[in-house]
Symmetry: C2
Subunit: 625 residues, 2 copies
């Protein structure tokens, strides 16, 4: 088993591996941008998917306004987050900004929303990446879910091994995607405007309006398009990862990132309009545009689809780093199991990766690997964390005495209001399509986190020694005695070892044996007498071969009789250290059971004495020689 | 959680609960007979399912011969097993008889076959019981798998609670079934022979022979019908459960059981013939016969279906007792994890019940709760164990000097040959239909069991103290020292308690702290000084908050320096005893990690010192007061 594990997961991480490369602007951009920039691969399609079934060919009009509104929202967010970067040079995720300025409950809401956001980033990006692949190879369309799961599994093992975010390797696909889309936008515009190319009619016949154009419809389409903005906050989390001066570099990257999202999203929406591309099953809008402009079967088309899939997989990959990091920060505040805060223990990150993978897999299977079905769940969580973060910044400026705080408060206040309005729009228009799941899950996560915090607070309170108690303590004076009980199954090397050890830790040692009948007792005592020891031996009968309960009964009766208040009782139990994983199940079951039962007793210490076993074959060979 | 567990599983079993009621003949019969007698509910149908699709209306001729052959096989088995009962008054299951007389490998084959047999008894009986229900209520037919799983879950929780096989309660359905079928047989014969009722034509039109009647076809039908004989061996397992004289009572019950299987199976096959009932989807043959004779919508029909489902559920239930019992016997010989041999530990039986339920559930889902698909897997395992048991008896008589051994050898020899021929017939005719699964799985199970045995043998060899070693031992002389290391996370009640304990068990105590930076070290030392102790304190830095590896490094360096060969090192670790199941995940993770790592070291003992936590709310309320 261990060699399988070694191949799949790699050797344990060293502490040093944690020292991450620092980003320049040029390489920081593509790494932090894969999530937001890759969103443009599906955002336009999501808008059209709302509009086309309702109003047919008329869809392209509102598409322009809606895209414009989303781009405006992006501008507001960019200005807001540039301020967050400046104010939180050590990293200002929504959880930190909200708990700092709005109190712990707001922080916990933001944390829950972010956790869901990361899970959905994985699911949505993988689903969209799969759609890019199946658009190029339609024969694979029926295996959608399987392809999603394969990508997920690759990311899972890659991250368990500890993919280091090597800037250059991870940055290239983002640049390749940006350049490809830019080339496509320019070619596409030239082809129509200069060369007067007439786009073929939409592949499905478009009727006129089937329904009236209502405000609700427009808002619903807007809500779908807002997915273009997911991941914009990534830069503000990662400020300390930049080269000095970190804040300046981070702000530049955010600006560039927004610029590219702006250009690419607006460009794709424009092309969709000009080329009258409408969503059809099995072909993404982006792939249809590419096929119209470059032709559907040349190498550039396939390259473009490959690059699209790649940047989407990278976007999913970022969540694999962010999700455990979020829990690491939250656990330091006591809102998540404490072991998650220990950076560098591979264990803690592995747990996060396993949880993330399982939930993402569940989502991909339940929603059949379909981007469109997952989207309604996605944006609402993202914008809840945007709102809390912006509102937190607003409050920060209100309470601040800094120069220019009024201007800053207006910027972040605008951000807060705009994102809050977006949350309401998304939450209401997408409620029945899945947003309700998020609205139900967030309070559940919050409750769990608050319960955990309460528990840690209560434990700390119980462990606390007040200064006066500390002074009154006198460790050197030990007045109580230590009694040792050694359960002896039979006289063998393990029990002799336990008895030897017991004698070094106390003068009050008792050996305890469970016999199934008188004959067994006689046999046992015969062997015992060979030991020539003056350790008292207690034998109890247990006709049904029960071992644990007679021992516990004995200890309890012992506690009543020989025991002085304050004394400790140590029970010495041997534990076999085995050579193969499956052998674990062949031993130690009653030890575990005894341990679990005895730990309920206040004054009982369990001393586990290990015994290394040799390889079975080795022992048997020797025996037969 | 504990109240849920209490409701579903009940309070822990007491030792006394194990003392089972002893069976009289009258109540022993129905309890041991539910498995074999319930098989008649599907055996005739299984024969027809082979014949009808191949040879249409001609099927009823071979049905008579085949039923006759099976009934003859039953007679042979009955005589054979009556001898087993006499020879093994303490219970002669196939595993015991085979290992006693044919050696351990034969025993392990029989054990594997039996284990599969019990699993399939559960799956097949539940599937057939479900078919009885859906035959009465056709609307439920599409929910077949769900109904199967509901029955399985009821049996699962019933057995986890520890259903006692209360003779009367469990015996009644068997008698009700026997009487109902007898009434049906008599009425059915009278209706046709005396009242000249003309049965309606088969519901599906029967053509003549579509294929030639081949020997292979007949043998395949015979193999299917052999399922009528599963469970016949149950009596020989249960001899000690009878009232004195046990052997006599058990033999009487076996005779009666065989008599009833004989009558019911022959009767049902006869009725199927006379009433021209053929298998159709959604209605069992038995339910069709009942509907023909009594009418399909009166209370007797529904009562009959209910009783059929009930006896089949009871048949499944017997496997829930037999499966853990088999492993209990095998584990005493070292072929299964030892903890399974501890009778009366609820734990051991629970594990068996969980495993049995999970595999049966898997089979029911994979084979879509369809009796017919499961049958090919069933009979082959049963007859392998029959063959080994009979052959073992044959060898026993060959080696015996008892009077009449020649006669006995002939009886069991005939049994062995007949059942071996049956194994070959079933294995070859049903191979592609599923018997191959059993033929693949048995060697796998055997390999596992033999590996387990090898491991236990090797462990015993390593633990063994030879008599000369025993004499040379002198337990009173302890020459080595005990060093104690107490990892101290912070100065609090838990660590003070651990330090206090450490001082009672040794004079060489060292406290060990991991600090993330110098500031943390200063803070810690300040508090430490309050303790006014002369226990030396070692502080190590770990900038990445790793706790475990610095501790292990320290211990290893300690081993190198202060340590004398033969000395022991005790590491004292506090463990929190929590109040709610989920709190377990909030603590003790690094303790587990430390324990796992340290147990690889030969001379390290881990002393776990428990700390009972109070209810969170209680502590917090007090704090705020």
């Amino acid at each position: 088993m261990s060699w399988i594990k070694r191949i799949l997961i790699g050797k344990p991480l060293e502490n040093e591996a944690l020292k991450e490369e620092k980003y320049s602007v040029f390489w920081g951009l593509p790494i932090l941008a894969s999530d937001p920039i890759s969103s443009v691969a599906y955002a336009t399609e999501e808008i059209l998917l709302v509009l086309v079934p309702a109003i047919g060919a008329l869809a392209f009009h509102p598409l322009s306004w809606i895209s414009g509104a989303i781009v405006m929202l992006l501008v507001v967010l960019t200005f807001s987050y540039r301020q967050t970067i400046k104010a939180y040079p050590s990293g200002g995720g929504a959880y930190i900004v909200a708990s700092d300025n709005l109190g712990q409950y707001a922080g916990v809401i933001a944390g829950s929303a972010l956790a869901l956001d990361y899970i959905l980033t994985v699911a949505v990006s993988i689903a969209a990446g799969t759609a890019a692949i199946t658009s190029a190879f339609p024969a694979l369309f029926q295996h959608q879910v399987a392809i999603c799961l394969v990508i997920l599994i690759i990311l899972f093992f890659g991250n368990l091994r500890g993919i280091r975010e090597s800037a250059k390797l991870f940055g290239l696909p983002t640049y390749a995607f940006i350049i490809s889309v830019l080339v496509m936008i320019i070619t596409g515009i030239l082809k129509v405007k200069i060369f007067h190319y007439v786009p073929s009619e939409p592949m499905i016949h478009l009727k006129g309006a089937l329904e009236p154009i209502t405000i609700f419809l427009i808002l619903r389409a807007f809500a779908s398009g807002c997915t273009a903005l997911t991941g914009v906050e990534a830069v503000s989390n990662a400020v300390p990862n930049f080269k000095e001066p970190t804040t300046k570099h981070a702000r530049e990257v955010l600006l560039l990132l927004s610029f590219f999202v702006f250009i690419l999203f607006a460009g794709i929406s424009f092309l969709a309009n000009v080329y009258h591309v409408v969503p059809i099953e099995g072909k993404t809008v982006l792939s249809q545009i590419a096929a119209e402009i470059f032709g559907g079967h040349n190498w550039f088309f396939y390259f473009f689809q490959f690059v699209t899939a790649l940047i989407l997989a990278l976007a999913a990959n970022t969540a694999f780093a962010d999700f455990p990091m979020l829990f690491s920060v939250m656990s330091r505040d006591g809102y998540a199991p404490r072991q998650l805060s220990i950076r560098g223990e591979r264990l803690s990150f592995s747990n996060g990766i396993v949880v993330l993978t399982l939930i993402a897999a569940l989502l991909l299977v339940v929603f059949r690997g379909d981007t469109h079905r997952l989207i309604p769940l996605y944006a609402v969580g993202v914008f809840i964390s945007f709102t809390l973060s912006q509102f937190g910044m607003f409050i920060k400026w209100i309470h601040s005495k800094e120069k220019g705080r009024a201007y800053k408060a207006i910027i972040n206040g605008t951000g807060a209001v705009v994102t809050l309005v977006t949350v309401v729009i998304i939450g209401s228009t997408k409620f029945i399509h899945g947003a309700w799941i998020i609205i139900v899950v967030i309070p559940i996560l919050m409750t769990i986190m608050i319960k955990i915090k309460k528990h840690y607070t209560a434990v700390a309170e119980q462990l606390r020694l007040k200064p006066e108690e500390l002074k009154a303590l006198n460790l050197s004076k030990t007045t109580y005695r230590n009694h040792v009980i050694v359960p002896v199954e039979s006289v063998n090397k393990a029990s002799v070892r336990a008895l030897r050890y017991a004698q070094t830790i106390s003068d009050n040692v008792v050996a305890f044996n469970v016999a199934i009948d008188e004959e067994a007792e006689v046999r046992f005592k015969e062997k015992w007498n060979f030991l020539q020891t003056n350790i008292p031996l207690i034998v109890k009968y247990s006709p049904y071969r029960k071992v644990v309960s007679p021992l516990i009964e004995f200890i309890e009766s012992y506690e009543e009789h020989s025991y002085q208040p304050g004394d400790m009782i140590t029970v010495v139990l041997p534990q076999f250290s085995v050579n193969a994983w499956w052998q674990v199940f062949l031993h130690n079951q009653s030890r575990l059971f005894i341990t679990r039962n005895l730990l309920k007793h206040k004054h009982i210490v369990i001393a586990t004495i290990p015994l290394q076993l040799k390889q079975d074959q080795e022992v048997l060979d020797k025996k037969h020689k």
